[in-house]
């Protein structure tokens, strides 16, 4: 099972996609897709949230930083939210986040929001396959690595020794 992992060997570019699925709809749909034996691209790694409303845009940025080439958000159809309106919150954040990413030079297609209800296993399949193709065409998202300094030699024991002097006041 390890062979078919994307990027496992230095083959052609295989995108890595992180998917945040709402537990009630899209995640269940993904289960359904599984039990219905619907094969879809192995490029997606799913992170389960109780509700798309839990999705903090930080997670998306974090995923990109940690090497994701695309991020897929899945939630219940508007009006179907198990928590009434979590998916509306998700939609608002998504809209603004998309514009932020545009400003940061990240292509639209790399972030996607889909409403997929618990019964739409086939849409999980088609969405994932479709997005994987799109991003395969885009190529890898290569962010500037964040420079990380070597830790200070004696950083470890730098618990600053108390200074034998009275305070300022």
């Amino acid at each position: 099972m390890y062979e078919d992992r994307p990027n496992a060997s230095s083959g052609p570019f295989e995108p890595k996609i992180v998917a945040f699925f709402c537990s009630w709809c899209t995640y269940t749909a993904a289960d359904l897709a599984g039990t219905s034996r619907m094969a879809y691209a192995p490029n997606v790694r799913v992170v389960r949230l109780m509700c798309s409303g839990r999705l903090d845009p930080q997670f998306v940025l974090k995923a990109f930083r940690d090497g994701a080439d695309g991020v897929l958000i899945g939630g219940c159809h508007p009006g179907d939210c198990h928590y009434q309106e979590g998916n509306h919150k998700a939609l608002r954040r998504y809209h603004l986040l998309k514009r932020l990413l545009r400003a940061m030079g990240i292509e639209e297609e790399r972030l996607r929001l889909e409403w997929i209800s618990a019964s739409e296993g086939d849409r999980v399949q088609s969405t994932i396959n479709d997005m994987t193709d799109q991003i395969r065409k885009l190529g890898p998202l290569q962010l500037e690595p964040i420079p990380a300094p070597a830790p200070h030699a004696d950083a470890v024991e730098v618990e600053l020794k108390p200074l034998p002097v009275g305070g300022v006041r």
Binding site: M50, D56, K89, R93, E120
Partner: protein
Amino acid sequence: MGRVTITIDGHPIEVEEGSFVLTATRQLGIDIPTLCHFPYMQPYAACRLCVVEARDGKGWSKIVTACNYPAWEGLIIRTDSDRVLDGRRLNLEMLMSRCARLPVLEELAAQLGIDKPRWGYGEDTCVLCGLCVRVCDEIVGAHAICFTNRGIFREVSTPFNLDSDSCILCGACAMVCPTGHIQMEEVVRPEIGHPDLQLGPNAAISVPTRQAVPNVPRINPDYCIHFKTGGCGICSSVCEKDAINYEDEDAFDEIEVGSVVLATGFKGFDARRIAPYGYGRYPNVYTSLEIEQMINASSPTGGQIVLRDGFVPKSIGIIHCVGSRDEHTNRYCSRVCCMYSLKLAHLVKERTGGEVFNFYIDMRTPGKGYEEFYDKLLKEGVHFIRGRAAEVTEWAMTPEEEGRLVIRAEDTLIGTVRRIPVDMVILSVGLEPQADAEEVGRLFNISCSKEGWFLERHPKLAPVSTFTDGIFLAGACQGPKDIPDSVAQGGAAAAEALVLADRGYVELEPITAYIDEDTCSGCKTCVAMCPFSAISFKVETGKSETNEALCKGCGTCVAACPSGAAQQHLFTDEEIYEEIEGVLTYV
């Protein structure tokens, strides 16, 4: 008024003083002919056929009309003396020579031994009994009909012989008319396939459906005369329990419950959607449900299988999988059709003795005794043709097809297309989710399958539970199933509900949100986020806090919390960050 004793033809009887003699004679089962009498209406004594002889036993005697002669102590009545009979004959003879030969009069004449009136017959069909006028006044209260003119010109009519606006088309006058002088035209034609009730005429007061719960009649204000005119009220006057309450109205009651079992059932497939089968176009194409109604002993046809014209069909075609296993309508198998089709086939054959043809794709008879039943039918000589029927048509190609319905179907077993002429076609319609399943689902915060069936929490492990705690499923609302399965599931759902009730407390998933006092700045962002009002701002502390009992654990507030003070058990930011790193680092 006290009670008095009178004697009729030698039989003493105690009756209410002043009550009419006719009532007493009817109690005694003594037949006295009447034309103008109708219970619940004031006596009128117009036809004079109910004449009897009254005596006091002291020599006084008199011919009176029984319908309106009051009873008094010691009254003696003779109903069959020659004197009485002569009087009746004369009165009847006069009526006869006024009217044309009317069945009702002929009958009476025969009884009284009159062969024909000595003054010859007239043309009129009205005996001026006034029943119609009175029923319209006294009972219906529409006051639409009246007598016009005088003497020999007297007749029944509407004012000025015009169509009356006050007539409510109730048909009461026609009903009471003894001679058929008044006919209803095209008002309520008892017709099979009535919108309200698949079969039979609708009564203003009736039990809505068979097996209705509670199984009691209800008044349909659209048809009830009382609700139109304020008149009638016969039902309340005859109901000894006096259960009739015209004031009753629809009301909504709010009931607090701990759990809900959804058993909203299914909707029969609308056969019109498959045009080639001609439902709604050809009168003798029925749906299985209509036949189910017709075949019921209490149906207007008394359980007889008849065509629209009332004849009994000689050959019947039953088309299976109508709206099931079909690309264009529903892909799923409705699961119950095969068996109920077989049942109908059996009954129809039994009741009609005709030829029954089943057109099926596959015969699916799982379960106890089902396959055996199928065998039984094979032995009974019911025909089974394996192949989906292509169409039902009136277009005849051979003389024997003339005027009949022809079912075209491919017989896949012998590999030819066959044309089977039948008198009646029964469409075995499939099961579909209720039209409003989506809204209902939303109402209870549960989701529907693609087809619209309510989604169970887990097909194997939690078949009657839903994603919302305390909401359970029973019966066809969750998917096509037959009665035994539905009953079983209903039991299971009830048990699940009882478990909650018995336990008396609810277990929360440990995914609730919480707010760290120290880092909460009291910006209140989270408060507006919560759809369950589980977060409140405490003025004393200047911080927000969650009520974990109300919190459903969606985490929306956590995502919105600007300072990370709000977190969610099992879904903290750190945990999710770790997860993201995890899923991305194994390559």
